[in-house]
Symmetry: C2
């Protein structure tokens, strides 16, 4: 963006230089069939020589075509690579974007304020047609920011956290209640939960639901520990829980994802405790990891790939003008495998 | 891109309508400090009303600022979510992009021809400043396409596959030779390799190196199986290898990634075979998974996160005009853990 008064090159100049119609230039830049390779090359060559590029915003408005969808994730880069959840979520989003020749603009941010500035710049700079917002917190500043901008978004989070934004969400409270109820039905009275990052809204919802379920079932020996979702943090939390004196040691542990449950299984083995003989373990999300361990891990199964696909489809609806809505996806369901059993008496 | 002769709106019109200088509009759209919130809002409001957006290409050229880097991956969406490699690689790329306020434009493609068209459209449409190309094959059409376009790229692949493009690569042949040599030194004579997708260049390099190493060591009982890198395929391959009659059954298996080795460990357990007593397993890449199993998995350790970061840094060099180069990253090194031992006699 220079401030010197250079004359602006238009599509007409490009067409004239390439010796074709403006429609042909449009076809070439929209990557559509109907032109010979030689003609396309001539058009692109002319555009390069003149320094012309289509106005992406105008292109997007005139053809109602959605090219790029934004996603900012607020996690340290190192941690992102370790969590199966995000890659499965992204792969589900991509499965829908690919069908529509659309790309994902992905960015890691350090905090939610940085994301607010980024979404603002992406939208005003016409770099995205809409965005997916994840990891909601209480009083999330992205809610008023997206409302003020008129940015088409899908908020991945419980409606209690996402204000007037269209939301796609999982009923975590019901799933936690089912998990605790199942372990209690097996006979467990000392049940622990290794939870995710305490600042996240969905973690708070699960924490409250776990306390409530334990209270309702009259389970006094319920404990919860917060982590950062990493395998290492899950291992540390499990080691600490299983190091308690025998009468206080939990006989069942629920995890907030699957990588922490895999780590927990390894810690039990390292401490000479049998699974499920001495301690039952219940994972969450249920990627292929849960079926690759020995014993296999019982889990609250959540189709994360399908969840990502639902989010992407809902965003296309928002971009094309559908009104705001709240879309629950199927609640995670209990999939019992080899890691849960009644406690030894 | 309409063909009706609408007059083109310029930055001057936006400045006039907002009652500010062109420099102020530039500051606002480049997301730079120095303007009050009210002024910024007025500028964006004026730009929206007039339907104006900065020419991203001009902005990028005038400020030498790199905003977006492209990455297309040719894998089924479902598989992408299951392989730790790509998420760790992407997280390494993002760790460098984030430092420079840059985003990653990510797209899944069905085949390499689709990627050629996509990179062409991204570059000519000025949507990216450069791209990362991965998963090279023999006679890869992306090499001449990138050369012809003048697209700044980093090719992640062995120089024998990437032509004149700047490459960042791992010496897979040396690493395979070390892996086979180590297992042979332990006393193994029936060694199998569960490899990746046969069409990929780096798989061919590993396959040839495995055969060569076995020949050089006089190991007759060497076998190789190709897979799609998924845990399920790794489990099937392992089940098939371990179902051979005892005298033919491999006593050691090398895997092309870690998720397949985890799956292999589970299959050995399911078949009642001890690891490493009955069969030694050696993983590749070495994400945290290898330290979470029991026994822990010996691996050819490769810092995939650091590899992604190196690739991103090299791409910034290419974009800012560094000449072509070939950049080997550290060769994967043997990290012995609990899953390898001498064979039972």
């Amino acid at each position: 963006m220079t401030t010197s008064p250079t004359p602006r090159v238009t599509i007409k100049d490009v067409a004239a230089r390439a010796g074709v119609s403006k429609g042909a230039v449009s076809l070439a830049f929209n990557h559509k069939p109907g032109l010979s390779e030689a003609t396309r090359d001539r058009i692109f060559e002319a555009a390069r020589e003149l320094g012309w590029a289509p106005n992406l915003a105008a292109r997007s408005l005139s053809s109602s075509r959605v090219d790029v969808v934004g996603l900012a994730i607020c996690r340290p880069a190192q941690l992102l690579g370790l969590e199966p959840f995000y890659m499965e979520f992204v792969s589900g989003v991509e499965s829908v974007l690919t069908e529509r020749s659309c790309s994902l603009l992905l960015r890691l941010v350090r905090n939610v304020e940085e994301e607010v500035g980024l979404q603002d710049a992406w939208w005003r700079g016409k770099q995205v047609s809409g965005s997916i917002l994840v990891d909601f917190r209480a009083d999330d500043p992205r809610v008023p920011a997206a409302e003020r901008l008129g940015l088409p978004v899908v908020a991945v989070g419980h409606p209690s956290l996402t204000g007037s934004l269209t939301s796609v969400w999982t009923d975590d409270a019901t799933a936690v209640t089912e998990a605790v109820g199942y372990l209690a039905a097996l006979g467990h009275r000392r049940i622990a939960r290794v939870g995710g990052a305490a600042a996240l809204g969905h973690t708070s919802i699960r924490t409250a639901a776990f306390d409530e379920a334990a209270r309702a079932l009259g389970i006094a020996g319920a404990r919860q520990v917060a982590t950062d979702f990493s395998g290492e943090a899950g291992a540390r939390a499990t080691r600490s829980l299983l190091s308690a004196a025998r009468p206080d040691r939990p006989t069942a542990i629920v995890y907030d994802n699957d990588i922490m449950a895999v780590a927990g299984l390894s810690v039990a083995s390292e401490m000479g405790l049998g699974v499920p003989g001495d301690v039952s373990l219940l994972a969450w999300d249920d990627s292929q990891l849960c079926r690759l361990t020995h014993p296999t891990l019982s889990a609250m199964s959540h189709d994360v790939h399908g969840f990502g696909a639902d989010v992407a489809r809902t965003l296309f609806g928002v971009i094309t003008g559908e009104g705001p809505g709240s879309h629950p996806v199927p609640t995670p369901v209990l999939t019992p495998r080899g890691s849960t059993a009644p406690p030894k008496v």
